[in-house]
Amino acid sequence: MLVYPQLTTGALSQFPIEKRWRQRTVVNTAADGSVIKLADPNGALTEWQLQYAGLSDGELAALQQFFAAAEGTLNGFTFLDPAGNLFAWSDHLENVVWDLGSFLAKTGGVADPAGGTNGWLLTNSGTGAQSITQTLAAPGGYVFCLSAWVQAATATTVTMLIGANRSPRPVQAGWNRIPFTESGDATAASIELGLEIPAGAAINVYGLQAEAQAAPSKYKASTTGGVYAGARLRDDALTFTTEDVNDHSATVNILYASHL
């Protein structure tokens, strides 16, 4: 699986990041002025422009190797949206994209720390730990940051999961955001991230977020998720400028169209 490279910092890009959404709507304007619209979701296109500055020799070499492997615009690759939440349906834990343990009950509509009611009460009625996870079709060797807001009426712990890596975190009476950064199996083409709830515990959860970077950004509710398999470079040329020793700049344009 060809994947877009991370920088040595673990980030996928630098600021500024530009993203362009293009939808396609067929519009028929009748003689009387009325309008009939037809959505054409297969014509949708998403573009990113990533501008890099201060790249090291190694980071530039990684970009050049990736460009050569992709052969410019020819080959598709997996791209993780640097401006999005990699999880799909992050506010909808009832969605089938989430894998819940058999004894883990979920109740929606819980007041969340952002002032809404998008929190979920997860109750483990089993005698062993139960997890809620989502598997991303993303390279396991990437640096991932998993974050979530958690709260419990009775103090307990929750274990954050990134692949085989585990990190227990305390859960208190007030809402608290817990982050966990780790890499998974470098040879794996997918990685599972989520939370493990101990036996008998009841925890309110909100804002589950996965990002391909070293630290969490502000929570972004998602539906489609941020993993784009089959993205392509927009250009057949990679232009970079060497500013100084071990100091380079470059701009990369990436596009994703589900119909390509």
Binding site: F15, I17, E18, K19, R20, W21, Q23, D32, K218
Partner: protein, 60 residues
């Protein structure tokens, strides 16, 4: 930014319709759409970005 991005996706560009409250006078226009099938978003830094949307009222 994320909310605007999600709103644009939910509306599938100019296809969807929604109620829009005019910020000038508070009038609620019940049938409006986005004017364009394109949305440009720029993040200058964490928690700081720019974008632009045009809303049109559907008639007829």
């Amino acid at each position: 930014m994320a909310a605007i991005e999600q709103f644009f996706a939910d509306n599938q560009g100019q296809f969807g319709s929604f109620a829009f409250t005019d910020p000038w006078d508070g009038t609620v226009h019940p049938d409006c759409s986005l004017a364009s099938d394109e949305l440009d978003l720029t993040w200058q830094a964490e928690m700081r970005g720019t974008t632009s949307l045009t809303v049109v009222e559907n008639r007829g």
